[in-house]
Assembly symmetry: C2
């Protein structure tokens, strides 16, 4: 029997299937009306946060559906890929709400898909999406489907704004620059995946990132500026510097490193950096992570000095570490003492 595809079930059939997949969601009073109308209706008091992100095949993910062919188990690699893609697509949006210190409420999912897209893949994608939505207490409220030359999910999330709004523009000279958690786990996970390792915390962090929603909500009470680490610490701190009109100084050696990165690092000196001591290698690695590792789902924030201790304590209470990595000064841009030349960072349009 041939696999069902978008073409064989048709647009109306696909919408019915998606409505059925979404119908398993727990009822949330903030979602007044979900899928089925021209609009979804929500009730969010105060101010509302809005964010949109795109998740494009071959740019942000690869559809490994060929590996699903012929297998009966729902746990095969292809479907796992679809579920991971669904989780990550929503997590990226949740991370933006986290960076604003808000509470995610409802998501709209606009899918662009080729007619030959398998229904099984879509089901896996929605399963991942819904599992992430459940984990963060939000509803998938509908969306849109359209034909396109490739698979892409364009997700919009609406959330409840915190009482005290925090953006990228509030950093002031003298503030402390800090990051939540530890960085580099996502990169380590990717390297482990490339070696065929599919388990462990670093791989999980890469495939199943957990946005810092609770950290963001706590930090919103203390921070002068906040952003999530999606393009790399240097670049995201650069956004704060630019919007605030200040200079951000980051001390690479102060960046907290994910344990999986340290494990990786002991293997490297065998064929690279032979003339370096392990400590020097680690420092170089830390700097590399500080500058370039994106998709970390941690937050970079600036906190006025007087409030820093209180912020650290409040986060520790919920089991999250906040580490000072630098300070805000008068000036422009990001300074990494000891690092020469222009800062690296992910640019969607330019060669690196």
């Amino acid at each position: 029997m041939a696999a069902r595809t978008a073409r064989t079930v048709g647009e109306a059939g696909l919408i019915r299937l998606i409505a059925r997949w979404l119908s398993v969601q727990k009822r949330d009073n903030r979602l007044v009306k979900g899928i089925g109308d021209d609009c979804a209706t929500v009730r969010i008091r105060g101010r509302q946060l809005l964010t949109a992100d795109s998740f494009v095949e071959k740019v942000h993910f690869r559809r490994e559906w060929t590996s699903a062919r012929g297998r009966r188990s729902g746990r095969d690699a292809g479907l796992a890929g679809a579920r991971d893609a669904g989780w990550k697509a929503l997590a990226a949006n949740i991370s933006d709400i986290a960076a604003a210190g808000g509470i995610p409420v409802a998501a709209l999912v606009s899918l662009e898909l080729p007619p030959e897209t398998k229904v099984a893949w879509l089901k896996g994608f929605y399963s991942g999406l819904l599992s992430c939505a459940r984990r963060y207490g939000l509803s998938v409220a509908g969306g849109n489907i359209t034909r396109g030359p490739h698979l892409a999910a364009h997700i919009t999330l609406v959330g409840e704004a915190p009482r005290r709004l925090v953006g990228r523009a509030g950093a002031r000279p003298g503030d402390i620059v800090a990051v939540t958690g530890q960085l580099g786990g996502a990169v380590a996970g990717l390297l482990l995946l490339a070696r065929g390792i599919r388990k462990g915390p670093a791989v999980r962090r890469h495939l199943h990132p957990e946005p810092s929603v609770r950290a963001g909500q706590v930090l919103a009470r203390y921070a002068s500026a906040m952003a999530d680490i999606s393009d790399g610490l240097a670049r995201d701190a650069g956004h704060i510097a630019e919007e605030s009109g200040v200079k951000v100084v980051i001390v690479p050696g102060a960046v907290p490193i994910h344990p999986a990165v340290k494990e990786l690092s002991y293997e490297k000196p065998k064929n690279r950096g032979e003339d370096m001591l392990p400590g020097q290698w680690l420092d170089m690695l830390a700097r590399h992570i500080a500058l370039g590792s994106g998709e970390e789902y941690e937050l970079v924030t600036t906190v006025p000095r007087r409030r820093f201790g209180a912020a650290v304590r409040a986060l520790l209470k919920i089991g999250i570490t906040l580490t000072a990595v630098g300070e805000v000064r008068r000036g422009r841009g990001v300074l990494l003492p000891g690092h020469p030349g222009p800062l690296p960072g992910f640019d969607h349009f330019q060669e690196r």
Copy 2:
């Protein structure tokens, strides 16, 4: 000098340009924070409407950028195409808010674009987008850009919900089925464009559709169900029938026809329908429009009989006609007396 493209200005450069284009917008108190942060922040009282729509190159529009090459005038065909695309992309979303009887407040624009996309095209696109936003009193609050194999705009719109929520699910047997304005103008405009005619109300309606926001707001006080006509009257009435669990009967001869369609019809019998009287031809045409013409940006609504007169009068006061085209009965689906076979309609995934 080579034209500037997404690749030559880079992601950061492009974001700066878009921020500059958006900065011309008038300040709106409902938009607390626009572009520059991880999220936009709005303040919408009561309940909020959410809708998302996609506008994909080669599916929903064609980028005629080659015709812009080497010309100095901002009014050349290529840029006009970009401006029209920008207007239409936003108008489609506004129409969903109109169908819910709401007031559009803020839009997020997620762009997917190939690195070779010309900055001039994007500028034209944003110019059309902003002109539509201005016309309907909403703000473009930011969005996202990402690389992709083709141009696509995924727009999300948030709006203020009416006091009385109207969706697709409220139609009851005995209600009158009605449409706002006149149908077929968009199709007539397309046919005229194909003949090289680039002026007149029908062409304008195709290139520059005007969603029925005011009609929707008035109708929300009277209607039992409402939808915009985006896929063709039969199909959109079908959505109401499905969600309400009723049968919708439409009398094709009762559908109000746009004058431009009637003008077109006098030319047609020369090579088609020779054995028909002009009146019969017109009736056939009306039925065709009733069934299949999408992108009309009018509304199809069901109104309880007792309220119908009041609804007609309230709309007339703002210069909009509401025409009864059928009624709601017990049963399922859409019935078009005199029309045999399955109903046509636009399906993104299936061949017609």
